[in-house]
Amino acid sequence: MSDHKIRLTVDGGPVSKTVEARQTLGEFLRDGCGRTGVHLGCEHGVCGACTVIVDGKAVRSCLMLAVQADGTEVTTAQGLAAPDGTLSPVQQAMMDEHALQCGFCTPGVVMTMTALTAGGARPTEAEIKAAMSGHLCRCTGYQGIMRAARKLAGVNA
């Protein structure tokens, strides 16, 4: 079993650590970087709770090895709000539309929505639905989540 020294950017700050080959990116972010906002649910790719943004793309952090993130830029839900606590537009929309109850799926949902609307992109209703199909939410029935996403995208439903 090999150990590897990795350097990456997590939520805007440099991180340099040694990881065991088998450690997933999700585990590394939680245990090695204090990003407990990365929620590990199923740990085999089904639920979407662990979604983070790696080099601009929403991916499941349980399906990537930490060592594979060497040299990348990773954003978690903990890197979205401004330093003074002002929520990001996605976070604010999720709150305004009551898009969460227990909050377990929320960090993953927020990251997909952030990637989807990055740079002012305006996804269509179909694109929002397709992207959200990658997330399981046991509480909300998805309606609040869809309202938040539509609001961000400027889609009227």
């Binding site: 085999h44 929403a58 090895l65 990658g134």
Partner: protein, 286 residues
């Protein structure tokens, strides 16, 4: 940590990757998008001693044109297929199929070569390779070979690949002019594996079908063609085809399983129905 311990290497050339595989003697495994391998590692259904990550090999990724075919490098991400202009112009069927592969988040990592190599019977890309008569380019210590998709799959998750053989690229030959391609499946929810589905390519010449290719997913231990139905379609005039009959014939050439998701009977019946409906609509509105 859930996976059993392993060594990790990330070579930057095909030669070095093949060398790692050869030295592993069957104990090493290729890591491409990881969207199947990572769950297998987490569940300890795979316990390799060495994981050979091929994501840092630049020459394995990308879409190009070569000898009347579209060449897709093995580690080209599934998400790339949806936006690549060469795919849109020359192999749009691939994009139609990829739309049904997992989710936005899994397509951002999952690769074309990974899905083709895995040989999941319900997967879209192996069946697409069959319908489009793709050639699979591989590399091993013994050199390069090209394997026809039709000769590649030997059973569920089983292929003719040797343990030290790497899939390097897929070659999708251009289809004849006036070819209509269809990808249809039935799944519980979008992104789930299909219960049944087919890929069709139909060439229409002077109002009649001159060439037909039909392959099925989730309808047997491997993706399967329907050669009798393909032959029966040739020469038939569009608008006068008994698609009920052809759909039943096509589905009867498959070998579906009974399992917790659906019975073999359901798969055959639903398969024949979506075939009739989708092909009927497509030929009418052509």
């Amino acid at each position: 940590m859930k996976a059993a311990p392993f060594d990790y290497v990330a070579p930057d050339s095909i030669e070095a990757a093949v060398d790692h595989l050869a030295r592993g003697g069957g104990e090493s495994v290729v890591l491409a998008g990881g969207q199947t391998l990572m769950p297998l590692l987490a569940l300890r259904m795979a316990t390799p001693s060495v994981v050979v990550d091929i994501n840092r090999i630049a020459e394995l990724s990308g879409v190009s044109r070569l000898d009347g075919a579209t060449r897709v490098g093995a580690t080209t991400r599934q998400a790339t297929i949806l936006t690549d202009p060469t795919i849109a112009a020359h192999a749009p069927t691939l994009a139609q199929a990829v739309r049904n592969v997992g989710h936005h988040q899994t397509r951002n990592r999952g690769t074309v070569g990974g899905s083709v190599s895995l040989g999941e019977p319900a997967a879209e890309l192996p069946a697409t390779a069959l319908a489009l008569e793709a050639m699979i380019e591989t590399r091993s210590p013994r050199g390069t070979r090209r394997i026809a998709a039709g000769d590649f799959y030997t059973g569920p998750y089983s292929t003719v690949l040797e343990p030290d053989e790497l899939v390097v690229a897929l070659h999708y030959p251009d289809l004849p002019a006036n070819t209509l391609t269809l990808v249809h499946e039935v799944a519980r929810r979008p992104g789930d594996f299909a219960l049944t589905g087919f890929i069709g390519a139909f060439t229409v010449d002077g109002g009649a079908i001159s060439r037909a290719r039909i392959s099925w997913l989730a309808m047997g231990p491997t993706p399967m063609r329907s050669p009798k139905a393909e032959a029966a379609l040739v020469g038939q005039r569009v608008g006068q085809i008994d698609l009920d009959e052809i759909g039943r014939l096509a589905a009867s050439e498959t070998d579906p399983m009974d399992d917790g998701h659906a019975s073999a009977d359901y798969r055959r019946t639903a398969g024949a129905r979506i075939f009739r409906r989708a092909v009927g609509q497509a030929l009418e509105t052509r």
